[in-house]
Symmetry: D2
Subunit: 177 residues, 4 copies
């Protein structure tokens, strides 16, 4: 049986920050997500990596966001699913941009990341990436954020800065009671 092909596109974000001893700060420098994914056991699955950029998502320019959208679009053509590792602060903007560019994608496109860097004890990064990769097999084609045990589909997914997770925006059509 042909393996299920998941393309992982990394853009940086909190999840991928590592500690710089010399400058005594956390920063985006190393391919930490690749190591994280390789620590998982994924049967009949072929994961490929595209390290697109290493940025805090607050620093993404319109040009950066356009590059992410174009890379997802071209990658989606030759994969069964795409996972985008992204900073949480502007993940919502990228999700909406992806939906605008690809209103009916052929495969599931899952955005994920973390509130705490993977290298820091108690990080939610391993959980979120485990869930995102698993979700690729079960979700219908569409654009999603996967965090903290849930898959939420765009449009209308935002970061809740109070509870530090992703929620359906109260103003979005699906979000209304």
């Amino acid at each position: 049986m042909a393996p299920f092909r998941i393309a992982v596109i990394t853009t940086g974000g909190t999840i991928a920050k590592t500690y710089d001893q010399r400058k005594a700060v956390l920063r985006n420098a190393d391919p930490v997500v690749k190591r994280l994914v390789r620590s998982l056991r994924l049967e009949e699955t072929k994961v490929s990596f595209k390290e697109l950029m290493q940025k805090d998502s607050l620093d993404l320019s319109p040009h950066d966001r356009a590059r992410i959208v174009e890379t997802v679009r071209s990658t989606a053509r030759r994969s069964n699913a795409v996972v985008v590792i992204h900073g949480t602060d502007t993940l919502s903007e990228t999700g909406e941009a992806l939906l605008a560019a690809m209103p009916a994608p052929a495969v599931p496109i899952v955005l994920t990341g973390a509130m705490v860097p993977f290298v820091v004890a108690g990080s939610d990064g391993l959980q979120n990436v485990t869930e995102a990769l698993f979700a690729c097999r079960l979700l219908a084609p569409g654009i999603y954020a996967v965090f903290h045990g849930r898959a939420l589909s765009f449009p209308g997914v935002v970061k809740d800065r109070e509870t530090l997770t992703f929620v359906r925006c109260p103003d979005s059509p699906e979000g209304r009671p």
Copy 2:
């Protein structure tokens, strides 16, 4: 919004073995799965625990298996999903017994466990339980084994003792090409 209710029933198995310093062996003694689940962040989810037994699954008697089936049946009535933590050696038998007793369950019933105890470095236990809990929200009602990035539905799911994962049995109806 009402939280999603997942009932976790623990029966022992390799995943829950801890090290006994005095006897120098791994054995089923402590509620390790509860600690594992509590280390995850699960939004709008209420997880309850039922510690049914602490056994290596090779030691499960017909009576034990009947108790598991009865507990799943009664728990399923008041939950949105049920996760059964189980040893891998006879997980397949329990899955088939559940299906025989509940051919059309109202909610997803997910069996999982691990090839390596959670307390041992490199364990697949955290990954499998993370996936099992996440799968509860996406799977249709049915009986499943969730391991190593995949959800496989009963009947016809067996442990492959060569590759040490779960696979669709070559003789099962869905397993035929």
Copy 3:
């Protein structure tokens, strides 16, 4: 037999930084060293904790340093050894200040810390604290820095910002070949 009494005085420093999800920075906020020490098994040893301050050592004022010296002096009277957890950037100044105030201490006084926070993967904090506590039993009375497998006695111990460890200062009497 009376247990060996070690007083641990915490002042903050890189070793004790934890991740603040809301501000997305590492900062000194939690009693992480206590947790670290309690994870060790120390036979016939009684460890007491004095949480004096939680500061990056670059932010220590002359008044802060005087408080550290006074606390070490009073604590040393009722302990068999004193460990001071300290940021690495000005650990050398505190070591020299301790030596000036206590040229002939009655017990070993050991300064330690880390180049990488304890909560970050690959931290040297657990190693340094394990060594510092162990050194308390073997070292003669004096003022020491314990880092990366070595005990170096004041005066003349400095942070080498190139190799990111502590070394004997090339200009110090004992440092000359």
Copy 4:
């Protein structure tokens, strides 16, 4: 300055047991101690490894013990210190045998190991090996067991099967009050 040379001789023991998924048991198979030591940062120190055998110490024959003694003797000639990684059940016999063969060794010879395998969460192995390597620089020449924050010198060091640590034997000369 010439680095401090520590020779690590591994013989197996609980500390080095890893989990065999196929047989579902812990056993001595892999060079786990080398990985443990390499995770430490040891300044101006050169550690060499001699993997002598991989045995539970209850399975050591008189011939095995003689080999250990001979290897320690020859290794001690070209090192500043020797660390022997050993199972705890017969570590005491090997310590006494070393002392009988080398009543006045030229360097410190330190036996250590663990009550819980290094790969199991909560293991004392990392602590004991960190302490043993550190002790090499501070101890006078002699034969020692280093465990749980203490260095105890042979003769008269035994495993206390009640508290699961090493203690001075009540009947030994130094052990008498």
